[in-house]
C-alpha cells in the first residue's frame, strides 16, 4: 500500500481531528489519517484510546470539535449519517427486533426506494453472501449471536457503500466462532472490494486481518503501518508493548526491543559467539502452551527479567529455579526511536 499514485483519492481522509466530551476531557487530540480504497484498515488500541470515537466521527454519529473528515474527496465533516455513503456494523449488531431478517437487510434499500422485486433479489444475495438465505423470514430473536452478526454484515453490504465501518463486531463471540468470522470477514472484504475500517483492541486479530493498522494511544496516533512494519519496526515503546509480547531492555537511556521468540535458553556457562548477547540468570516461571513454552529468566536484579518463547521440544528439560543463560543475537534487538511523545 506504499507509493500511492497521487491521483488516487483516499476513501477516508482525516485531518487534524479533535474531539472532547462534556467536562472538556479530550478524547482525540489531532488525528491525521488516510485510508485507501479497498483497504482492510484497522484502528487498534486499548479501551479509551479514541479508536471508537474516530469510527463514530467517520460514520457521522458524532461531530468533531475541529478538523476535517473527507470521504472519497468530499468534505462530510458536518453531514448527518444518512447523508454519508457509509454503513456501519454495530458492536451490539443493532438489528431491528420488529422485522424479519430479510426486512432488516432490505431496510437501507427500501429507504432508498429500490423497487420491490429488485429489493428482494439484493437482500437475498446479501444473505447468501453470509450463508443465511435459508432463515430469511425469521426474527433476530430467533438467531444465535454469530448469526445475528452475519445479518448485521449483510445489512451493511446490501447498500453497496464505498465504506463499511465495523465496531468490534466479534467482541461478543466465543474464540472458535471469532476465528471463523475473521476468515469470513476477510473473504467478503476481498470479494466485494469495499473499504473496511475495523475497530478492535485485539492485536492478534488486527495483525491477522489488516492490510494496514493505526495504533491509538490516549487520543493520538502512535503509528500507522502494515502488520509487519508494526511488529518488526515499532515506532515507540508503546507500540512495541501493545503488539505482540516483548522484552524492553534499556541501554544508555534508550529502549531496546527484544521479541521473546528471538531469545534462546542455554545452560549456564554458555560461551556466546561475538554476535550473541548473554544474560545469566535463573528460571522463575514456565508455562507450557502446546507448540511453544513461555519461560521467564531472572537476572542479577529484579529488573533484569527476560521472557523467552521457545519451541516446546527445546524447553523440555527446563525446571523452575534452574540456573541458565538467556541468549540472543544482537542483530535481533531493535533500537526503539526515542519517545518524542
Amino acid at each position: 500500500m506504499q507509493d500511492k499514485a497521487p491521483e488516487i483519492v483516499p476513501a477516508v481522509s482525516l485531518h487534524n481531528l479533535t474531539k472532547s466530551y462534556g467536562h472538556g476531557k479530550p478524547v482525540l487530540k489531532g488525528i491525521d489519517l488516510e485510508i485507501w480504497p479497498g483497504e482492510f484498515f484497522t484502528l487498534l488500541g486499548p479501551s479509551g484510546s479514541g479508536k471508537t470515537t474516530t469510527l463514530r466521527l467517520i460514520g457521522g454519529f458524532e461531530f468533531p470539535d475541529a478538523g476535517e473528515i473527507s470521504l472519497c474527496g468530499e468534505d462530510v465533516s458536518r453531514l448527518p449519517p444518512y447523508r454519508r455513503d457509509v454503513n456501519t456494523m454495530f458492536q451490539d449488531y443493532a438489528l431491528f427486533p420488529h422485522m424479519s431478517l430479510r426486512d432488516n437487510v432490505a431496510y437501507g434499500i427500501k429507504i432508498r426506494r429500490v423497487p420491490e422485486p429488485k429489493r428482494r433479489e439484493r437482500a437475498t444475495q446479501a444473505l447468501e453472501m453470509v450463508h443465511l438465505e435459508g432463515v430469511a423470514d425469521r426474527r433476530p430473536s430467533q438467531l444465535s449471536g454469530g448469526q445475528r452478526q452475519r445479518v448485521a454484515l449483510a445489512r451493511a453490504l446490501v447498500n453497496e457503500p464505498s465504506l463499511i465501518l465495523l465496531d468490534e463486531p466479534l467482541g461478543a463471540l466465543d474464540l472458535k466462532l471469532r476465528r471463523e468470522m475473521q476468515v469470513e470477514l476477510k473473504r467478503i472484504q476481498k470479494q466485494t472490494g469495499i473499504t473496511f475500517v475495523y475497530v478492535t483492541h485485539d492485536q492478534e486479530e488486527a495483525l491477522s486481518m489488516s492490510d494496514r493498522i493505526a495504533v491509538f494511544s490516549e487520543g493520538r496516533l502512535e503509528q500507522v503501518g502494515t502488520p509487519q512494519e508494526l511488529y518488526e519496526h515499532p515506532a515507540s515503546t508503546f507500540v512495541a508493548c501493545f503488539i505482540g509480547s516483548s522484552n524492553i531492555l534499556t541501554e544508555a537511556g534508550q529502549d531496546i526491543l527484544l521479541r521473546p521468540e528471538d531469545v534462546r535458553v542455554e545452560a549456564q556457562g554458555y560461551v556466546p559467539s561475538p554476535d550473541e548477547a548473554v544474560m545469566p540468570g535463573t528460571v522463575t516461571e514456565i508455562a507450557y502452551l502446546g507448540p511453544v513454552t513461555r519461560c521467564r529468566v531472572r537476572g542479577a536484579s529484579e529488573d533484569d527479567s527476560i521472557l523467552a518463547i521457545l519451541p516446546s521440544r527445546l524447553a523440555r528439560g527446563l525446571r523452575e529455579g534452574e540456573p541458565v543463560a538467556a541468549v540472543w543475537f544482537r542483530a535481533a534487538a531493535y533500537r526503539l526511536p526515542a519517545s518524542a511523545a
Binding site: P80, N87, F90, A94, F96, I111, N159
Partner: protein, 282 residues
Amino acid sequence: MGLRRYAGNLALLVPPFGWLTVFYLGSLFILLLSAFWQVDSMTGEIVHDWTLDNFRVLFSDVTYRIVAQRTIGIAVLVTLTDIVLAWPLAWVIARKVGPRLKLLLLVLVALPLWSSMLARIYAWRLILGHDGVLNWFLHEAGLPGQSIAFTNVALWLVFSYLWLPFMVMPLIAALERIPASLLDAAGDMGATPSQVLRTVILPLAVPGMAAGSIFTFAVTLGDYVTPMLVGGAGSDFVGNVVYSNVGVSGNVPFAAAFSLLLLVVVAGYMLVARRFGAFDGT
C-alpha cells in the same frame, strides 16, 4: 422430595386460585346467568325463566345503541388524545433528560394520582363551569365565554386528563427500551429522522401504547362516576344505565345484560391489545 415440593407449590396456589374462582369468576358467572332472567313488571321480583328479552330490548331500542356508541366513541377519542399528548412528554422523559430531571418529571406526571379522583373531577367543574376559571380567562382576553360544562366535550377533556399518566408511563418504558444503536443504525442506512421515527421508533413503541390504552380505553368504557359529575343530560355511559337499572328501577337482569355487552367489548379489546404486545415484558 419432588412430590413434597409439588404439593408445596400446589398449596401456595390454593389461596389465589380460590379467591379468583369464588369472588371473581363466581360473580361473573352469576352476572352471566342473571342476564338471561327477567323482572316481573307487576311484583318487581326476579323471575328465573330463561329469556333473551333483555338483549332484544338492548338491540332494538335506539336509546341503548346511542349510549353504547357514545361510550365507545368517547373511549376511543380519549385514547387517541392521550396518545398524542403522551408522545412528546414520554419522548423527552425517556430519552432527552438527565437522571435527576427525569425523576422530577416522573414525579410530576404521577403527582395527580396522589389525590382523590373525585376531588380532581370536581376541580374540573370549577374550571369548566359557567363562572369557572376558563370563562374568566376568556373574558379577560376579550373572547366570548364557552359553555363546556356538562357536555360530552367536558367528558372528553376530563377523561383525557384523568388517564394521561397511565398512557405516559408505559410509553416511557417502551421508549426507554429502544437501544440507541437502533436509531444510529437506521440513520446509518440512510433514514432521515422522520423515517427513523416512522419505521423504527413508532413500531417499537406500539406495546407501550397498547398497555396505556388499557386504561384510556377499557377503564373509560366502564366508568360512570365521571359522566355523572361532569357529563350533561345527554352524556350517559353504559355504566350510568347499569347504575340506574340496579339502583332506581331494580332491574338487575337488564343491568347484567348491558354489562355483559361491555364485558365482551373489553375482552375483545384485551385480545387485540395482547396481539400488539401490551402484556409483553415488564
